[in-house]
Symmetry: D3
Amino acid sequence: MPVLKLGLPKGSLEESTVEMFQKAGYKIDIQSRSYYPSIDDPEIQCVLLRAQEMSRYVAEGLLDCGLTGYDWVVENGLEVVEIAELVYGKVGRKPLRWVLAVPNNSDIKEAKDLEGKRIATEAVGMTKRYLAEHGVNATVEFSWGATEVKPPYLADAIVEITETGSSLKANNLKIIDTLCETTTRFIANPTAAQDPFKRRKMDRLALLLQAVLTAENRVGLMMNVHKDKLETVLAKLPALQRPTVAHLSDENWFSLTTVIDKHVARDLITDLMQAGAEGLVEYSLNKVIL
Amino acid sequence: MPVLKLGLPKGSLEESTVEMFQKAGYKIDIQSRSYYPSIDDPEIQCVLLRAQEMSRYVAEGLLDCGLTGYDWVVENGLEVVEIAELVYGKVGRKPLRWVLAVPNNSDIKEAKDLEGKRIATEAVGMTKRYLAEHGVNATVEFSWGATEVKPPYLADAIVEITETGSSLKANNLKIIDTLCETTTRFIANPTAAQDPFKRRKMDRLALLLQAVLTAENRVGLMMNVHKDKLETVLAKLPALQRPTVAHLSDENWFSLTTVIDKHVARDLITDLMQAGAEGLVEYSLNKVIL
Amino acid sequence: MPVLKLGLPKGSLEESTVEMFQKAGYKIDIQSRSYYPSIDDPEIQCVLLRAQEMSRYVAEGLLDCGLTGYDWVVENGLEVVEIAELVYGKVGRKPLRWVLAVPNNSDIKEAKDLEGKRIATEAVGMTKRYLAEHGVNATVEFSWGATEVKPPYLADAIVEITETGSSLKANNLKIIDTLCETTTRFIANPTAAQDPFKRRKMDRLALLLQAVLTAENRVGLMMNVHKDKLETVLAKLPALQRPTVAHLSDENWFSLTTVIDKHVARDLITDLMQAGAEGLVEYSLNKVIL
Amino acid sequence: MPVLKLGLPKGSLEESTVEMFQKAGYKIDIQSRSYYPSIDDPEIQCVLLRAQEMSRYVAEGLLDCGLTGYDWVVENGLEVVEIAELVYGKVGRKPLRWVLAVPNNSDIKEAKDLEGKRIATEAVGMTKRYLAEHGVNATVEFSWGATEVKPPYLADAIVEITETGSSLKANNLKIIDTLCETTTRFIANPTAAQDPFKRRKMDRLALLLQAVLTAENRVGLMMNVHKDKLETVLAKLPALQRPTVAHLSDENWFSLTTVIDKHVARDLITDLMQAGAEGLVEYSLNKVIL
Amino acid sequence: MPVLKLGLPKGSLEESTVEMFQKAGYKIDIQSRSYYPSIDDPEIQCVLLRAQEMSRYVAEGLLDCGLTGYDWVVENGLEVVEIAELVYGKVGRKPLRWVLAVPNNSDIKEAKDLEGKRIATEAVGMTKRYLAEHGVNATVEFSWGATEVKPPYLADAIVEITETGSSLKANNLKIIDTLCETTTRFIANPTAAQDPFKRRKMDRLALLLQAVLTAENRVGLMMNVHKDKLETVLAKLPALQRPTVAHLSDENWFSLTTVIDKHVARDLITDLMQAGAEGLVEYSLNKVIL
Amino acid sequence: MPVLKLGLPKGSLEESTVEMFQKAGYKIDIQSRSYYPSIDDPEIQCVLLRAQEMSRYVAEGLLDCGLTGYDWVVENGLEVVEIAELVYGKVGRKPLRWVLAVPNNSDIKEAKDLEGKRIATEAVGMTKRYLAEHGVNATVEFSWGATEVKPPYLADAIVEITETGSSLKANNLKIIDTLCETTTRFIANPTAAQDPFKRRKMDRLALLLQAVLTAENRVGLMMNVHKDKLETVLAKLPALQRPTVAHLSDENWFSLTTVIDKHVARDLITDLMQAGAEGLVEYSLNKVIL
């Protein structure tokens, strides 16, 4: 039986990955201490790996595909195929990005001021490429962690991942440039991406995972509307998503069902009630494919 | 840009308040140690405050509005406007109330027996007003906590908040009167309540929050019914909430959708099946506006 | 007022039992240290008991009914009526079973090799019956726990409950026979099962609990389909469950609603999209009665 | 190399047993999930067992010796040799005892009132012997736990272990008789107790363990005393334990060292200071052999 | 039997108080939820109380004595007798003090700038007295907690307790004056302090508790010294504490025992070794009375 | 004021390092999130760093000294001075070592079989040096963690740190060679090691830390012996450590004090009692300098 070898990211995304697969219809069971989670699909084999190493093993064909950050694909610089972008993990926040940061009172204002300085980072490759692009010579030291506490004593500048910048701010650092914005990617080995069985399997998985992520920011709305108010209510709804309008047994009434963005719902619900909607109900969705 | 300053209750209601706002469509993020939670609506600014202090800052206009207990509105005795009552936090239980309690073997049987006695309470104002109403002179001492363990050695009676009375019972106390029943209220500063922007914002928020609380005790039911059984099945449904009856492609069958009380569902589901409903499905609801 | 006395299993199933009742519409509140949980139905009284003892108290009529494992019904060998089988607790895994296990390097290959040996088990009755059926004489010792660590020093063989066998394997034991497969059962006292009030109450409860368990492996699907594609899409759906097909206001479109198995959804969703479904939405279900 | 096979009690005494051995000079390392702890003495092999089963395996010679409660030695009624009594685990409290308890409002006042009643207990053997001694016929049912919540519905009386009686009191039960007082015992197999190597090993272990337990209630005191006050100070010290009186370089002063009971120290220290002791110091002791 | 009624501080000092009493020779057992801890001295009765309320109940004679902060004695302003100062709880740190703090960018520089301002504090009495001393009129509002987050929106200044000032600093506040430094005090009711039994009991308790606190910063040193080096070694020891110098069996050697400050030990040990000490040993002390 | 910059290891050794310093007389306070712990000696500044990076910053002079593993000194290959070896962290177990491990069923038997293979390790430098010494060409890949789960799919062999080998065994790996044994070292920058102030500070610190570690495996013994038994008892004591023998006031008795190894104490105590020792007492030691 053919099998798809799939790498899942160990660490901060682990729990939300399992949850996302569960909503997609797959039960992944991670035994403590084990790195080979079980999944209830005999055509898939899973392995837990650090995001940093994922693209290496996918590129080498030891895995057919995997989930990892775009940053580590860039850092490792190896050839892989992107099947899908999956924006999850820290829902509703700003994108993660790798930034160049220096102490608040540093003289370093831009890339060229790094000449001859010492930079600590977990992403040595990305940082060296950045320096090369700016024609700057500087020492890049691999940091085993807690990079943000190193300046000014143990480093002049750092290249570090951040979401809100609050950890940098708390360590009296300021951001002076962005090297890379990153989200999670579903990547594949180029050869595996051409294998019909594997490609079909990956495409179907990607469709389900994206449907789950789309659903996280959507809600379903159901309401009853009298025929006289129907046009007014329909006019309030966002144009792009066609609502379902069903006849009721009482010919004067319609049942209206639609899917809208969670944020839109805040104001829309009051507007719909004022426009004549009755018996309005909102419910959660597992998957949405528009 | 105009902004609504909103006070949220710190402490036992904190977690359920965040959850209620989340269902209402607002993401509130409370950083540990911070008392200024972020909210994903630029027109709202939040501050965490003890429920005891909320009405003071709302009445003085330092906040436009806030969520607090009716008891502390009464205790503080300041002028605020009630936007909505929000029954949440301890779902499905008895209402919270402030009671006068004495040791099981005390001679104090009613308010007038308190003459000359010592009463410990966190609600000094409410207790003094109660004594005044009954024309009784007694010492009211502010208690910093663990009030229920003070009688009989450190106090003759206490005025304390309780839900089931079990903590009082465990300390060998009996309830002899109720001073105040309380639920959470959405209160506003009188001036803010007349400001068009702020009032519109508060009314919309109140609608969403109440829709969430209504939904917590409701479920959606969907079922198929043959036209011959439709009348029988419809007769079983609660009269007040009009069900949606849609034609199916097979003209002999109808799809019936309704929203009912969770408790009613227990018996109703069996009754509906016996009356001819088929393919019955129950689902959860985020918001309900009837 | 008549009351149904219901025993709930204390221990590993406790939390999932409360959750299952909650989905069924009953709020059970277990105070720490208390064995008499409250339930929001005045016609039911609950008591928490070890699964091992449940059938004893049900058979003797001290309880009207209870939830316990089939294994302990067998072990105790008393007369009770089975109202329903409820497969829950460890969703999606293999059934629990009581097995005969011996050290990997033991000479014991089958039941008859147990002659004169020492067997440790928590299920003494079940094991003695098994030995009698095979005409074997052996010492059966009641084990107070950690049975799987006893061979080979403290026992020659054990009879122990297992799901995946991994704990046995980790202790260098191999399974050589299965004595009993077990799931949770809703059992009743024979007299109570004939009492009209009690039987009606138990049957309705069983219906709701089974509806909850059915729903756990199902999802609801809703999608829009053009009339030209309707036949193709309908042909993709599982035959057994009749979908709801409602006319939309635009006569060329139909709204299609159905309930399918979670596992089926994985492939079906892609197939439906390819067959012409649009605006597909999946949602969770609390209860399903087909 | 000869080896002593030693059983250690699993459960509530586990942690304090490891600690007691550590003070005695033995490092026991219990890996999670393992029942064969390592000990840094190649002449000892440890196994963790429930106290209930210990005397069974010691009596049968599968273990040379073990630590268990006197109650379970009595309950099992097998032949073992007592090497030492070790009073530990719940330091400074009342001894544990098995008691006969009935509901506060029960008619059962003494053993003979149990005729025809139902008794729940974990100690079936001890209870049956007690009934036989009193010439009473009653049903004794093995209880799998939570015995104290069974009366009055599921049992008429219970035989249960208790220290302060507070759990019984909380369940509205009163104690009407005591069946057995119990402490931990170091027991040995009769044959092993006659083996020179094993007996020497056990005796030395017992000496060290008892020295640890003695030390827990003792403290060391050191003080300087002028020769003129020496008699007065010495007269204050407990007669039984001879203090060490050393000459100092200044011939007029003595250094006095002694070991006293912790409780005695409370008053003694003030008395000693008043009698002329100076520079008094108190320190903890690991082991004391008087 | 006469009894001393003793109040112990509930909250942050609770655990360290129990530990201090344990070292003093008293076992205090605090059952969860109970405010009447047991103590193994029948002549003492304990009650747990908030430090804020302690001096009130001691002054009124409901308690004979108690442990509380000097700040709350001041705040309540009632007549009590101080038996002893006990510096514990946050060993080795700066003393706790109540300070006046304002936002970093505030115009308030000193007490007189508070005229007409709003001050939030838990210590209303202390703050009002401070304002009166400076002839300033300002609003003092009782704060139920999180006082440091109130400026600048909800207060102009605060009076708050602090140790290192770091929490104030983190909230962008600066200290402009100190109202009160505080440590724990063992206080007594004036009448109880004259009762011979109670006073003797309190004095002995105070002696033991202070001996424990003294011991926390001391260590015992023991070493051997040749007679030729004795003067040199003795000269290195702190002058105030007379060491014990005992003759050994070998007349040329002395055993030297002393008690020194922990901090002094750091350098002293090297110095002593260099001066000729041999076989140096350091050990912990439970109690020290110099 | 001159200051010694000291690096402390972040991670698994962090807690035991703080504890070791505390016993040495230094209070280190690690605020959560901070990497610059406070220490109560104004002449020392601390920084928390990963052991992997310590020797880099010490060698470059950014730190004067630090605690790190010998392995990471070797891995980084930089010039530092070793002040002391400190065996702590995992007391009483085997030394940590870096080993070459392969799957149980691998054909790789020794270093030379690695030719052309893929090796995963966190210690790339150490592994490459090892391969060079054996004249072998192989791919060495940096592993970000969970190295032991990579063979056989993601690597042919690994170089990994282990203590008991149990984690390797659990992953079906066998050890075929040892690359490096390691313990904690107190290292210094060569220039700092020649600075009089810094060297003196480091030497004194090393003396105290080693005294603490020596004390962990020692206990103090004190006993009384009659002059007639003195020779016999003294003959039992280990020769190397000279006991203190003091005259008592009763000329016929001696007080004997000594320090012995914890393991020796087990048998020695019984032997001493049998040889005539009386009133034997054992106590713990904080520091021992022999």
